[in-house]
Amino acid sequence: MTEEVKEKMFVVSSSPHLVEPSSSKRVMYEVCIGMIPAIGVALYHFRERALIVLLSCIVSAIATEYIFNAVRKKAKTHFDGSALVTAIILGLSLPATLVWWKCVLGTFVAIGIAKMLFGGLGSNIFNPAMVGRAFLMAAFGSAMTTWVFTADQDKAERALWSQEQISQTVQLCAADGSEESAVEEVAVVSGATLPLTGATLLKEDDSLRKAYKKSKRAHDTAIAEARAVLHDAEESGIVGEELAVAQEVYRVAEHAAEDAYDATKKELKKERDSKSYKDTISTLMGSERGSAGETSAIAWLIGGLFLLVRRTITWRIPLGVLLSSGVIALIAWWVNPIANMNPIAHWGAGGLMMCAFFIATDPVTCPLSRKGRFIFGLGVGALIMIIRLFGALPEGVMYAVLIMNMLTPLLDRCTRPMPLGGHVKNA
């Protein structure tokens, strides 16, 4: 034995000699597994439409990655799972009515331009799926904001509507020039029957808020105008009876404005109240209109918890997103419950949960340090709410993520952890 041992060549290598049996591929596929509940909800609500969107994204993502690698003579990476993750996230953030070739185009931009041109996995600066979506938003704005009812809603609504009413609506829509392309779009996808479309929850929230702001503005201007008239009258030096009349006129105008304002407020409040409970539930369960996959907050939450338990992601980014968005939504709601939706509904709507657990947590485009990741999460959440409450758009996930992606290198530099025991002193 001794001889044999002396003959034997032992392997020489650098330590450590143990590695955790994990791989980037596994990380990616775990993310995919985490998205299964959301995919299930999407397929349930939007049936074959969601399937077509998802499949177009997936097939084209893998094909795009393959082609780019082949052209640039690089190692094959199309099955490393990252293209699949991007494809599913993109697919689930698109309206289910989008025609397949638009999905393919969006995916091509996501994988080809936002990822492969930057050098492939790990080198991209922006979240590829969000770049793809931003491109589609810019190119096909109206198709991207046409939200069909879910299958269940569709059925229920249809049952209420007579065939006649439906055809009337179709004509009405068609007559409205701005909606034309959307209607066409919808008609192409659905064949003969026109699916019913409606506003998303956030869109409704947005219009309520706008209605509120409008009436407030109307009220303010009315009062200001009346006051100006009164002021002019006073300046002109009138006295006695005439002054009393002017004052009376002012009071009446003020009353009218107040009354109108109060009436609108009451109306808005009624609308809010009638919806708030239902909306909160429906955003959580996913029976609300929206992108194929962003309708059910619970499904994303389940998937997110799975990733947290599997330690595929860490809690800092999701917590940051939920914390800052929740606090801002809460303050807004507390200050003005008529103009603003409740924070739970905000959490549930517009893919915020999807963002917190699956989009903002994309490792490639978020900072490296723990502190950096938490700040990143806070930033995404805050931006989402700022865009929703003050911006022109009803939802803000996409821009919030892209903006924070831009800040990632800066955050990396500012939040580099201090080595235990301090920096090495250079002699």
Binding site: M1, T2, V5, K6, K8, M9, F10, V11, V12, S13, S14, S15, P16, H17, L18, V19, E20, S22, S23, S24, K25, R26, V27, T77, D80, S82, G120, L121, G122, S123, T314, P363, V364, T365, C366, P367, L368, S369, R370, R373, R416, P417, M418, P419, L420, G421, G422, H423, V424, K425, N426
Partner: protein
């Protein structure tokens, strides 16, 4: 890998020859003080040095000096060594783990302790092999407040410290008491990982009667046994980068070293044997063994039961930091705490893929470095950037490589970078 732990440590005799290298420690190598053909006995000094940072080496056996030559050393080079042909009587050990009589701390004074430790050639037995007498030397500028006894295994798989605590608790505690006395510290704390309740129990019993000693259980987490981590975990003090525990008033001492100190002070026993863990799937009979320092690795492996056919990689130490060796004709040193023999199935790694910036390496680095950034800098040959990112603070623990899902050999890059930094001066 706990099979090794369950049984008592087995004593092994030396093979036909032993090789005693003149350098088994950090610091100046010794000069041989014996000649070819001379008879030596157990515990006889065979090499000494005048230098302050050094430790004498002793013969572990009775025998005859066969030659004095440069022999293969675990560090990969050849080092001047005294080769001894083992004679009659060979290596004697009797009740190696016990203290002979009732231990009375008051009998020993500082000078006496330091002298005995120095004469016995004791070095840190956890692996670093820093001469212990130097650690004990009092420095008025840096008073010691706490002595930490490191009962945390320095690596996964290794169980020699754990085994020693179970078998020689009294000696270890006596050694700690001596170190506390010698350094003038006010207390001694024994840090034991919380996955070793049996050791905690035994040690708790052993410290009864010492009111300045205590046991602290710490999280089982590699690299808990590294000095910096241990000091931080047990005293909440942070050793400055590039500094020593002494800078924050702490002296850290391994359990094996403490036991050796007790034996040296009470019985004048030189450090000529130690406990070694043999572990890994490539061994027929893993376990803990008490072996003479200088025993050849090939003898040790053979006497313990030999390698099996799958053995592919031999590590001097544990699987996280142990360097590999291609040859087995090298001696066990004072600082060799374990040998790991791995099979191909255990260490095969997948091909590295692109860094996905998952930040696991950042989260896991015990020194709060950003390994991926350093590795990228080295890869891009940007040594300045690597330096800015504190490449030199890295302790080679290997945690980052262990965790990286993309199988990137981060530590290999970091080591390359460190060499480049040193060359730059």
């Amino acid at each position: 890998m706990t099979e090794a732990l369950q049984c008592m440590a087995v004593e092994l005799e030396a093979g036909a020859t032993v090789v005693v290298p003149m350098s088994q420690h950090i610091g100046a190598p010794c000069k041989p003080v014996v000649e070819k053909g001379q008879e030596v006995t157990v515990g006889q000094v065979v090499g000494e040095s005048e230098a302050f940072v050094s430790a004498p080496v002793h013969s572990p056996v009775n025998g005859v000096v066969a030659k004095i030559a440069d022999m293969p050393h675990p560090n990969g080079s050849k080092v001047q060594s005294v080769v001894i042909t083992v004679g009659q009587g060979g290596h004697k050990t009797s009740q190696w783990q016990k203290l002979p009589d009732k231990f009375e701390l008051d009998k020993y004074e500082y000078e006496q302790i330091e002298k005995a430790v120095n004469a016995a050639g004791i070095v840190g037995m956890g692996g670093a092999a820093f001469p212990t007498a130097v650690k004990l030397a009092r420095n008025p500028q840096k008073p010691v407040t706490t002595v930490l006894l490191n009962g945390c295994e320095c690596e996964p798989y290794l169980t020699s410290d754990h085994r020693l605590m179970l078998e020689a608790a009294d000696s270890i505690v006596a050694g700690l008491a001596l170190v506390v006395k010698a350094t003038g510290a006010s207390k001694g704390v024994i840090g034991i990982e919380d996955n070793k309740p049996d050791a905690i129990e035994v040690m708790l019993k052993a410290i009864e009667g010492y009111d300045n000693l205590q046991i602290a259980s710490c999280k089982t987490k590699y690299p808990q046994g590294a000095e910096r981590q241990l000091v931080n975990a047990l005293t909440k003090r942070v050793v400055p980068t590039g500094g020593l525990p002494l800078d924050v008033g702490v002296v850290v001492c391994n359990v094996g070293t403490a036991a050796a100190i007790a034996w040296a002070v009470t019985q004048g026993r030189a450090l000529t044997e130690r406990i070694v863990t043999l572990t890994g799937k490539g061994l027929n009979n893993p376990g803990n063994f008490v072996v003479p320092v200088g025993m050849l690795l090939s003898d040790l492996i053979e006497f313990s039961g030999g390698l099996n056919d799958e053995a592919e990689k031999v590590l001097l130490g544990g699987p996280m930091m142990g360097p590999t060796t291609s040859r087995l004709d090298i001696p066990i040193l004072k600082g060799t705490s374990g040998i790991t023999v791995m099979t191909a199935a255990e260490y095969l790694k997948a091909e590295p893929t692109a860094c996905i910036r998952c930040s696991r390496c950042v989260d896991v680095c015990p020194l709060n470095l950003v390994p991926t950034k350093i590795a990228h800098a080295v890869k891009a040959r940007n040594i300045e950037m690597a330096k800015e990112n504190d490449i030199m603070a890295c302790c080679d623990c290997g945690c980052c490589v262990f965790i990286c899902p993309s199988q990137i050999p981060l530590l290999q890059y970091i080591r390359t970078g460190k060499i480049a930094v040193r060359q730059m001066g």
